[in-house]
């Protein structure tokens, strides 16, 4: 292949990007899809293996029911039609980390067909809907490790037989930005239905992109290339931009695109060494597994058991809690955060205050520590108690923030912390008057000027009392006392 200069931006405008994405998602099962080995990530090499996933002579696969349940759940959440009969098929190819010499997958009769997801709205307000061609189940291959032993490749088969679903989109995506949006929405949905860790770094979510370019207004699809090896959503977006620009450059120069696999290296795409596109996988129905038959009432039960999906939750948060669009987006980003917020809001009773605290203090704390909200030390009930203390004037807002800090550090309940740290607000008239007297005595000039009508000095005086009270003085009451003192 000869290098072709990528097309400049003005030229790019004359072309339209057409993208379809193939997303592999590891299902959250305890064991592998066809044997009883643990599917845990990170065990010692080849620790999680047995005759079945090592492909020893005579071993046979037995389908993991839990994997079928999760795959069905995912397919229904993606609005697919789950098929009452689907067929496992063998995809045959030789590779050292594919122990059987074939991968058990699904081919012409996949688990689910014809789904869609919405990835936001167009300028005119119509939702952008991306079609999902199919969702099928398959097993993962092992891992080839090329850099561990010099001159040799090591094989780790822990991943061999880990259950996956492959989610194939229609070529409905028209920009890198849309591809990113599709992936984020997809990830969010899969997190909501709790079928996968959807973690790209740990390999529980992998993305391959089919990309082509056509002149704007053209309806025929151009020749596509498949881009692999992206390891983040932003990487996918950048790889698509680069590969699209390469297509346009070639086409503008009168060249043709060769259908091939391209690898993204973080800044550029290059053709894969082996011509993966030229494989003949010789698919045929897996004779070791009977057809997968799902009863309609079982499928309906899985549908009924689906948790609330992101779109529904967003709508409900807007209605029930009267939250603005931005707050809703932030608080429903993942189901654990949404659950957390919702528990606080319900226990406290003031959704907006709960939202402010969760989006403010809580998220700032998590951002600093890098923790997931699922493991956050401050439980929703305790945060709600703290919010109650602030609302009821037991502690000041400032003291509330201090107490929150102690809660993060110790996990103790807020009332106990307020007591222990002496942060309970003082609203006793005698004590407040005593502090006020002291402050007026210590600041005679300011007191006199305030008495003469310089109302802006109120802040200085109140501030001095707050300082003297170590923040415990009830500012509302203090204001009343100060005003009353000079009212005569």
């Amino acid at each position: 292949m000869t290098a072709t200069a990528a097309a400049p931006a003005t030229t790019l405008d004359r072309w339209e990007m057409v993208v379809g994405l193939e997303v592999h998602v590891q299902l959250k099962t305890r064991t592998k899809i066809f044997c009883g080995c643990s599917s845990d990530f990170g065990a010692a090499p080849n620790a999680n293996t047995c005759p079945v996933c090592l492909a020893l002579p005579g071993a046979l696969p037995v389908l993991n029911e839990r994997a079928v349940g999760l795959a069905t759940r995912a397919a229904l959440a993606l609005n697919c039609a789950v098929q009452p009969v689907s067929i496992f098929a063998r995809k045959n190819y030789f590779y050292p980390d594919l122990p059987k010499g074939y991968q058990i997958s699904q081919f012409d009769k996949p688990l689910a067909l014809d789904g869609w997801i919405e990835i936001g709205t167009r300028a005119v307000g119509a939702p952008i809907r991306i079609g999902i061609t199919r969702v099928h189940m398959e097993e993962d291959a092992g891992k080839s490790i090329h850099d561990r032993f010099s001159g040799a490749t090591a094989i780790d088969l822990n991943r061999s037989g880990v259950p996956l679903i492959e989610i194939v989109s229609e070529p409905d995506i028209r920009s890198a930005e849309q591809a990113g949006a599709y992936l984020r929405v997809l990830k969010q949905i899969l997190e909501y239905v709790d079928v996968s860790d959807v973690n790209m770094e740990e390999g529980s979510l992998r993305v391959d992109a089919n990309v082509s370019a056509r002149r704007r207004g053209e309806t025929k699809l151009g020749t596509k290339t498949e881009v692999k090896n992206m390891n983040s959503f932003s990487g996918v977006e950048r790889a698509l931009e680069v590969e699209f620009a390469r297509h346009v450059g070639v086409l503008e120069a009168g060249g043709t695109i060769e259908q091939q696999t391209m690898l993204w290296d973080g800044s550029a795409v290059r053709p894969a060494r082996s011509k993966e596109g030229s494989h003949d996988y010789r698919y045929f129905p897996e004779p070791d597994l009977p057809p997968l038959i799902l009863a309609l009432d079982w499928i309906e039960q899985v549908r009924k058991d689906l948790p609330e999906l992101p779109a529904a939750r967003r709508a409900r948060f807007a209605t029930d809690y009267k939250l603005g669009e931005y707050d809703v987006e932030v608080l429903t980003a993942n189901p654990r955060l949404a659950d957390y917020y919702e528990s606080v809001a319900r226990a406290h009773g003031e959704p907006k205050a709960a939202a402010n605290w969760v989006m403010g203090e809580v998220m700032a704390t998590l951002k600093t520590s890098g923790e997931d909200i699922g493991r956050f030390r401050v439980r929703p009930a305790d945060l709600a108690s703290l919010l109650n203390l602030v609302r009821d004037g037991i502690v000041s807002h400032t003291a509330g923030k201090q107490i929150f800090g102690h809660m993060v550090a110790t996990g103790d309940p807020p009332a106990q912390i307020a007591e222990r740290e002496g942060l309970v607000q003082v609203d006793d008239d005698a004590q407040l008057s005593a502090w006020l007297d002291e402050v007026l005595a210590e600041n005679p000039v300011e007191a006199e000027r305030y008495g003469n009508g310089e109302k802006r000095l109120q802040g200085v005086l109140i501030g001095a009392v707050m300082k003297k009270s170590k923040g415990r003085a009830d500012p509302r009451k203090l204001n009343q006392l100060l005003t009353a003192r000079f009212a005569s």
Binding site: G58, A59, F94, Y102, F284
Partner: protein, 481 residues
């Protein structure tokens, strides 16, 4: 010469009149006798007599405190493609030379649980591909009745282990007649159960949708007891059926008054060897004499069985044998890079017949050929299965046919693969349809055994055994004359 029957060995062992160690000693002595020297029959690819004896003594030790198993003290020879913990499992192939399975097949576990003593791994056509046991990396096995002739195959070693009197029961495997045809050639009984009746877990796959473990017995009763011990559902094999296993011995003395026997005309073509036809006719007369109603039936797609079989079986084999790649176990030969290693390993590790079938199977599954070959073959396969279904639904209980179109041929006589494939012309249908079938001796031609075959509908082995028990009883010594 035959080994003492399974029933007798069990009873005597349980009663303490015979020691399992003595039974094993007798088997060892006979195995040495027939295996020794240039004229040895080459029955086993592996035997560990000390291990067999130590298992026998542990049976004696446990005798007092356990209920006697169905095969108590019975040595059973095991085909070399069935995984065993204590002996190598090489499938008669160089590519698995010295390979010892770290797990045991369900059938061997069940044999042990029944009190049987796994006795040696028997020679076979490499990966069960063949009908003569000539295609083994460990040399051909010879027919004990005429040592210049083949014992049939692919389970030739197991057939000879029984026919030469070493053991009364042996396990074989069938993909297209590999138990019944050698049983016929060696003058013993061979059973292929319904697909799904016996677990395939630990049976090294040849063609998964056709493979079943089968049983050889010196008599119908030996075979029935052997099958009873290994049959039944296994959660480790998704294609095994969860259907209760009846007592196959129950019909041992029944007459055939309510039995309707069908004679499929396609199995008695004009070209059939007249001597084989004569022996079949005599057997059918016996069946009538036992009270059976006999009628002619038709299985119209019979002649398509061999072409269909030789598309479906190689297709599945090409995929099943991909795991023998030199990466994890077995034979490995280095070459230029990864591809070179694959090519060197597989071209030197597999023999010519296996290579031929892998190529054939790869071809019929290739893009552009799949519809014309594999898909079409699967469609015809359902027609063959429908033939059987219709006949059995019409009130016929069992079918009777010749097992093979010829008697045992001379070693080296057939070099054309297609001519060899035709040896399975009457047996491959049962594998394609998944129905149970068995062969039993019905007489001899020029001293060479001829087998008659019973076939029954799915999971109706019991009725097939009833018919076989009765015919064996009626034929008596004629079966071997």
């Amino acid at each position: 010469m035959t080994a003492r029957s399974c029933a007798v060995v069990r009873e005597e062992t349980a009663a303490g009149r015979v020691l399992a160690t003595d039974t094993v000693d007798a088997a060892v002595a006979r195995a040495r006798e027939v295996g020794a020297g240039r004229d040895g029959l080459n029955v086993f690819v592996w035997r560990d007599d000390d291990d067999a004896k130590s298992q026998a003594s542990s049976i004696a030790d446990r005798l007092a405190d356990t209920k006697p198993g169905a095969l108590l003290g019975v040595p059973v020879a095991i085909k070399d493609n069935i995984a065993t913990l204590t002996m190598p499992t090489t499938c008669g192939s160089k590519i698995l030379e010295g390979y010892v399975s770290p797990y045991e097949s369900t059938v061997v576990k069940r044999l042990r649980a029944a009190g049987a003593i796994p006795f040696g791994k028997t020679n076979m056509d490499e990966f069960a591909m063949g009908s003569s046991t000539e295609h083994s990396a460990y040399g051909p096995t010879k027919n004990p009745i005429a040592p210049d002739r083949v014992p049939g195959g692919s389970s030739g070693g197991s057939a000879v282990a029984v026919a030469s009197g070493i053991v009364s029961i042996a396990l074989g495997s069938e993909t297209g007649g590999s138990v019944r045809q050698p049983a016929a050639f060696c003058g013993i009984v061979g059973v292929k159960p319904t697909y799904g009746r016996v677990s395939r877990f630990g049976l090294v796959a040849f063609a998964s949708s056709l493979d079943q473990v089968g049983v050889f017995g010196a008599t119908v009763d030996d075979a029935a007891r052997g099958l009873g011990a290994i049959a039944g559902h296994d959660p480790m094999d998704s294609t095994s059926a969860n259907i209760a296993v009846p007592d196959y011995h129950a019909g041992a003395n029944a007459d055939l008054k309510d039995l309707v026997v069908g004679l499929p005309k396609e199995y008695f073509p004009a070209s059939l060897d007249p001597e084989i036809r004569r022996l079949c006719d005599a057997a059918v007369d016996r069946l009538r004499g036992l009270g059976a109603t006999v009628k002619e039936v038709s299985l119209p797609h019979t002649d398509l069985a061999i072409p269909v079989y030789y598309i479906v079986a190689p297709a599945e084999a090409s995929s099943n044998l991909a795991r023998f790649d030199g990466v994890r176990y077995g034979f490995r030969l280095e070459g230029e890079g990864l591809r070179g290693m694959y090519e060197a390993t597989r071209s030197k590790g597999f023999g010519p017949e296996v290579t031929r079938r892998i190529l054939l199977g790869t071809y019929v599954l290739s893009a552009g050929y799949y519809d014309a070959y594999y898909r079409k073959a699967q469609q015809v396969r359902t027609l063959i299965a429908d033939d059987f279904r219709r006949v059995f639904e019409s009130g016929v209980h069992v079918l009777f046919t010749p097992t093979a179109p010829s008697t045992a041929f001379q070693i080296g006589a057939i070099s054309d693969p297609y001519e060899m494939y035709l040896s399975d012309i009457f047996t491959a249908t049962a594998n394609l349809a998944g129905v149970p079938a068995m062969s039993l001796p019905i007489g001899r031609i020029g001293g060479l055994p001829v087998g008659g075959q019973f076939l029954a509908s799915h999971f109706d082995e019991a009725r097939m055994f009833t018919a076989a028990y009765a015919l064996e009883r009626a034929l008596g010594a004629e079966a071997h004359a």
